[in-house]
Point group: C2
Chain length 595, copies 2
């Protein structure tokens, strides 16, 4: 029978203590406002930034935020961008969460797409909503921000589709327990949660006793008997595969916090490792036995062959969305696959609910040894193609950028040519790749870059670099202003290829609806808060030579101020991976070309 790890026991102890707390009379702790109780919990979770927009019903709580010594209020330009920022912050700041504060109705509904995206991609975000007082919620007057028909629960109902848990602070004695329950759900299941704060509740005083017991992100331990069985089955299959085993790192390796465990497994065994797009940088891309991105039939042929011919695949944290799998063209039979997930394991065709990888992986690693025979791994590199015309094509851009990146850079790629183009480029040691490959809401990256840059600053990471298309930037441009305001210094590459390029490749290549208005991209920062021109620098590059020269300039590369680079690119050009994916998607969409 397996021994429950110590950390897991400690977490269990803490959980039980918190449960008991609810029943015990509290003596001797300083009373605290509900607002400050919540902020204290967020501080314990290493939250340093709160995103959002002020609005009636949240102003009282905002006083507490503004006065808080360690949590800083980031006033966003709008609520959707604020939710995007909370998402980006949470992705980069491991073991923390993103927090977005909005107001009843008008604010929260503006944010809902951002929260849904975090739900979809398993990002722990707390959506806090300032709502009318508990009295008003009973009498239901026709306040501004209401629907006029008395339905005060409409927004909660809408939000419930995109949160794994909700809490409504209506009774002060239950507040602490409810806040703790909600935050625990958030950090253990890594999905958004939703909390309403009535105006009259934020300053009610409660006991601070529970704060002494930290919240735990550990999930309940695996059932020992099942776990032992599963381990034996896996070991059998690995033995049978006689070292012809390949590991694929995917989304949840990052999202569910098993990068350490995964890396131990990889280093101990020496098995070849590949990444699905959503797992890019789960494993260091310059690791010698890392072979690059596996994405079904649109993988590089060498990678496809190596992965699909392996006798056994260990898939860690799979999230098999269309863009993450080359439109579901994984051709490996389940009979050759073991899937590790946060809350279940799949061994060939057998499913084992409740057996999570956080615990299972180290136990597996302990049973394995270094492979005797090490299968060769294709070298993952990106060669800059030589062209005569000096045009910045997609095929030229991405390998070129690959040479520019440095360790600990945070690299954000918008849905579109960027998120596909960057797949083929090895990112440096300890860099973090940020993209939204499953949810795919264009414009997301402006807000998420803001959040990611704050987190990068907290963690002492290197530069934050964003690649975004001109079409996408138009949706959410104003958040550039907030980056300036807070002295962040991202490098923003704007791919100016005159339109929504990913849409062109999905359908409607020559259609006017895929055109956009051409903005003065390099004038944006000047109007959005850098009137003096001292906080930022903007550039346009039209040729390979111009971009190369810029990338080689130390003051540019050092990112000492916020920078925006407009890259002029051909209209009908896309990365190889995007063209192939779009063709596959287009077939399943059943679009018909009309004459």
């Amino acid at each position: 029978m397996s021994k429950q790890p110590e950390s897991s026991l400690q977490a269990e102890v803490d959980r039980l203590r918190l449960q008991l707390q609810s029943f015990q009379v509290n003596h001797g702790s300083e009373p605290i406002t509900i607002a400050n109780y919540l902020l204290a919990r967020l501080e314990q979770l290493k939250v340093t930034k709160m995103f959002g927009v002020p609005g009636d019903f949240n102003l009282g709580f905002l006083d507490f935020v503004e006065d808080h010594p360690t949590i800083e209020w980031v006033g966003n330009c709008n609520e959707l961008n604020a939710a995007y920022a909370a998402d980006g912050y949470a992705r980069v700041k491991e073991h923390s969460i993103g927090v977005v504060l909005t107001t009843f109705g008008v604010g929260e509904l503006s944010a809902i797409n951002g929260v849904a995206g975090a739900f979809s991609e398993m990002v722990p975000v707390l959506h806090l909503v300032g709502v009318p007082s508990t009295t008003q919620q009973k009498t239901k007057p026709m306040l501004h921000h209401t629907l006029g028909d008395g339905r005060y629960d409409a927004y909660i109902k809408a939000a419930s589709n995109f949160a794994i848990a909700q809490a409504h602070i209506s009774v002060k004695d239950a507040a602490a327990a409810e806040i703790d329950r909600l935050l625990t759900e958030c950090i253990t299941r890594c999905r958004p949660v939703y909390l309403t704060l009535p105006t009259d509740m934020v300053f009610e005083k409660i006991s601070s006793e529970r704060l002494k017991i930290p919240l735990s992100r550990l999930t309940p331990p695996n059932d020992p008997d099942t776990e032992a069985f599963v381990l034996d089955e896996i070991i059998k299959l690995i033995d049978q595969a006689a070292d012809d085993v390949v590991i694929i790192a995917d989304a949840c390796a990052v999202r569910h916090d098993v990068r350490v465990e995964l890396n131990e497994l990889i280093l101990k065994t020496g098995y070849p490792v590949y990444s699905a797009p959503m797992g890019k940088t789960a494993v260091s891309e310059n690791y010698e036995r890392y072979g690059g991105i596996y994405v079904g039939s649109i993988s590089h042929p060498e990678v496809k062959e190596k992965v699909e011919s392996a006798k056994l695949i260990l898939s860690v944290g799979a999230l098999k969305s269309d863009f993450n799998t080359g439109n579901y063209t994984y051709s490996m039979s389940p009979s050759r696959t073991i899937e590790f997930h946060s809350d279940h394991t799949k061994v060939q065709y057998a499913g084992f609910p409740g057996i999570g990888m956080k615990e299972l992986l180290p136990m597996l690693t302990a049973r394995l040894s270094e492979a005797k025979h090490k299968n060769p791994v294709p070298k993952f590199s990106a060669v800059v193609p030589k062209t005569a015309d000096g045009v910045i094509s997609q095929a030229w851009l991405w390998p070129t950028m690959g040479k520019f990146f440095k360790p600990k850079d945070v690299i954000v790629a918008e849905t579109g040519t960027s998120s596909f183009g960057i797949l083929d480029v090895p990112l440096p040691q300890d860099s973090i790749f940020v993209s939204q490959i499953l949810w795919g809401s264009i414009g997301w990256t402006v807000g998420s870059t803001l959040g990611a840059a704050f987190a990068a600053r907290d963690l002492g990471l290197n530069r934050t670099i964003l690649f975004i298309g001109d079409g996408s930037l138009q949706l959410t441009v104003q958040e550039l202003s907030v980056m300036l305001k807070h002295g962040l210094k991202p490098i923003i590459f704007v791919l100016n290829n005159s339109g929504y390029t990913i849409e062109r490749f999905l359908h409607g290549k020559e259609r006017k609806y895929n055109d956009i208005s051409n903005w003065n991209w390099t004038g944006l920062l000047g109007v959005l808060g850098d009137a003096e021109g001292t906080l930022s620098q903007s550039y346009t590059v039209k040729t390979q030579a111009e971009l190369e020269a810029l990338l080689a300039t130390p003051s540019f590369a050092d990112a000492g101020k916020m920078q925006l680079v407009e890259i002029i690119m051909p209209k009908h050009d896309a990365p190889r991976a995007l063209m192939q994916q779009a063709e596959l998607s287009g077939k399943t969409n059943a679009y018909v070309s009309i004459a």
Copy 2:
């Protein structure tokens, strides 16, 4: 027994014909794609513009829109602004509807706050969503834009809270009837409806037979016996009041299309007329017996006295939200009030469901005659205060703008100092006031101005003029770009008073969270599409003299190009009405000032 009006009978005939259509075999009509059937219905409803953003799953339908001879695609910068634009278009373009097209998940959720606002304020908007094919909806693959857990119905569920009807085209033979049902609900009940279009359904062919029968916006006729009873009761009360009767025009007089009927009643009787804020311009504000805005205890004292002392109040289309009633400070007893609504009537304390004002008002007017004694009406005017310092204060600005407005102007006022400040200013004959006093989502007016300006152009109205605070403009600024792109020529007044002023007055006057980043407002149009400086003109005015000079300049007033005027105003200044309203709201919010 009352006679059913002819138009109502005709509408009933059409409804019955449509019902029968569903059962009859269709002969001889040209088959038509579902997409074009829908577009044909929209054309019948006088829709000339469709707002939205392209996205996977709606591109196939977009081909039909782009190819349509009379409906023009307006590519918005983001979906929230697109929904705002559909709302603004519908408000100005009487007897039409607003249409916004988004994509599955990411698009529709971005728009949902805009649709909820239209729901709240009774604006007929059709939200069209391009969704995966009917096959994909059955097999539920993990497509981009999905939640990753197989819930394909999550967005429909969320949307159901903000639509009076939904339809999902899944079977082609039901498509026409479903589209007709949905659009009929939209135009009769004046609230948003929601329609999903699977990619494979848009080009399925169906009969076009039903198109021969127009959709009707008339609601079912009032029950004749009840109506007769109600009329007698009302006549009795009016007789008892001996001409001391006052009329209040409110939101639904506009939203539910009774301006003609209301004006006939007013002219025939000569009773004094006032408006609630949301009813401003329901009645012409230069009508000699119109006394201005009634808003409970924050009305002008003369108005308050006249309204509250009347023996009988005829309230037409009341929508008693907090900001529309001075925080519910109407002091007239129901015993002196008759309320006319779209779907019920209230006579003193008695309620009469199903008795709608569209039919009732003309029947009432027919029974009334001109008042023998005409109570005096306070003159509704706005005097420009004389000040020595030349500062553009709130108190000075609004009366000054009052002199600038012309007949048939469309005047849009953002939630904040604008929507409160403009109340005290008489607007000219046939002008249209656009504001969002119940829902109050800041930033709404940029999108709604776009829609309103298109509608104004369709109808040959005069200028479209927007007043928006600097804080609000930051939420939705990009839509200025779309105005430029389409050659619209609104005049945008940006009130630069360094922050979210309405919030300052609600709470947190000196708080940093009510500050914003200062943008280069007059540089915006140049970067958002007018690089050459030929399409627009921007100005900054700091003093009364500068603004007066600008307003007096013919080329400015003629609005021959798009114009933006930054008005520098004091930080802690607000219109009288806002200060009073905020104080009342602040008390009910139960905010507590913390030291």
